[in-house]
Amino acid sequence: MTLRLANDWVLRLPGERLSFRLPVRALVLALLLTVALLSLIALSLTIGSYEMSLRQVLSTLLGDEVSRQMTTVVWEFRFPRTLVAAFVGTMLALSGAALQNVTRNGLADPSLVGISQGAGLAVVALTVIWPSQSSALRPWVAFAGSLVVAALIQGLSWNRRGGSSIRFILMGIGVAAFISAITSALMTYGQIDRAMSALAWLSGSINAAGWPEVQMVAVWCAVLMPPLLILSRSMSALQMGESTAVGLGVRASVIRYALISVAVGLAAIATAAVGPLGFVGLIAPHMARRLARSGVGIHLLLTALMGAFVVTLADLLGRALFAPIQIPAGLVTAIIGVPVFIYLLQKSQAKSAL
């Protein structure tokens, strides 16, 4: 066998009773991405104001106490923060992938269509009006806020001829502007200390993440991931267009609403944990598609890994580049994401115009 990676291998049982494709290239890439992500996480644990070697980090993680400070730095600060970054990246990337598949629009992203802003408004309102209940209710309130906004945009951009994808985005820009204005007004109204904590959260910062946030994103990831995987089969049919999907036996409208709910849920929980992180859901699915053309399932896997990688990298860059000043990860993802958005705009199909 040569070293050239074929796109697929086809495995056949004797007699061809059962055969399936093995997407080798995509699987190898997924493995490489996993290794890259793990190395990035390890690197991220060693970098910071308290210098540590990789060996020290590893033995601290394995439970040996090298020194008390190291245990505190790794277990209390760096490790939960890195975990939250990876989880949030995964969730936002999957949310973006689901949205892009449902709307058949390569430019869809939870932060572009107003979903993140809806969660943001709901959480800021909670922080300003009812601060004592803030942390426990946060995910639910964020979810409700995003759901309302998603329904609003969906309703507004739907007309007799069905939805148009670019109109969906433009509508999202308008709704996002409106919601951001209300959020800012709320922060003017609220007391200054509460407003300041909301402000830090609004720029998409992983600074303050600790074990409660890790627990929240991990639990919700576990809840929302299975439905997405179950729906992924129908998603591949939906990619071919609604009428084709219906012809293939997919209950298109049910699947659509289910997928949008899952996408909204993923984005809302991620936003509730660290604030709005823009453009991750836009970049990750496209990078995954560029790496390997594959079925929806493998694509989701690659997308999830890519999202985790991007946000972990953004967080690391944000805190290492200008240390001791910390740049929120949301700003880094926006600076990376906008050129990608413009590039995709150039590539987008003219037929999807209004």
Binding site: I327, I342, L354
Partner: protein
Amino acid sequence: MTTQASHNAMSSSTVDSASGAWLAYSAGLPIVVGVLALMFGWHIAVGAKSLPLSTVLNALVSYDATQFDHMIVRDLRLPRAVIAVLVGAALSVAGALMQGVTRNPLAEPGILGLMAGASFAVVMAIGVFQTVPTVWLPWVAAVGAMVTAVVVWLIAQWAPGGATPLTLTLAGAAITAFLGALISVAHLLNQETYEQLRVWLAGSLSGRRVDVLSVAAPWLCLALGLAMVLSRKVTVLAMGDNVARGLGVRTGWLKVQVLLCVVVLTACSVALAGPLGFVGLVIPHVVRLFIGSDYRWIVPYSALVGGAYLLGVDIIARLALRPQEIATGIMTAMVGAPLFIHLVRQRAS
């Protein structure tokens, strides 16, 4: 012909109805001026200490330095009201011109990224040189707005389908997000320098930048005058490039002139009041409901109505949550964004 009635209203109207419209439009001007004057007086009258309109009028007509109320009016409230009128007029006219030239109902200095460009240039200049002489502030903003306008246009031009309303708007939104993130990073890196810019970056009239006013006002008025001069040709250009060329308009040169005019208007507004979104979107559309498509009338009416509108919005911003003050930019976005959504919906159906 009938389907394009709005675009061709002027060319199809006979001499009689045109002169009738001329009469009606000029009769409307005093009314709008009256409303503007009323809003101006009201804007000065309200505040932490409410003043009766008669006191305001007295202070403006016969100023008495010994009276405390007169000092409030002259030194504190009058500059803010003047800035509101000038900025409202400038942004509305800039929006009207952009909508006419790009034939894009969504065009506006804020949406197409010009304001973000102007703000970014000012922030960077202050970051690099620590202090920027006030005289240079509008020009720094103008360079930023100009570069951003060209970049946004190029991005939209390269997209499949060319510079349509959609691609222009998306490119503008993307550039705005990008520059906004860079501004935030600059802010975080140098907190002390930018603390003073915080309020300004939200779009606010509360700074009362009298020194900037004396620098920017002449240029702003000059650009408004240029807009009036250009308005006749913009009406023709709004019918399409080919029609305009057939009627003897040098479209390329006209577009350059309009771009310069829009950039100066936007830059002066941003230097005075920070980025105030959606003003240039709302006013021309409202004006067009009454006036039609003749830019010779749209431009002056937009200026007057825009001034009155920003005065009104600023009154609400100051009164809604007393004693706090909402940034004026927040209020303009709350009013303007629903109209934006409506326009997107309407174009689709």
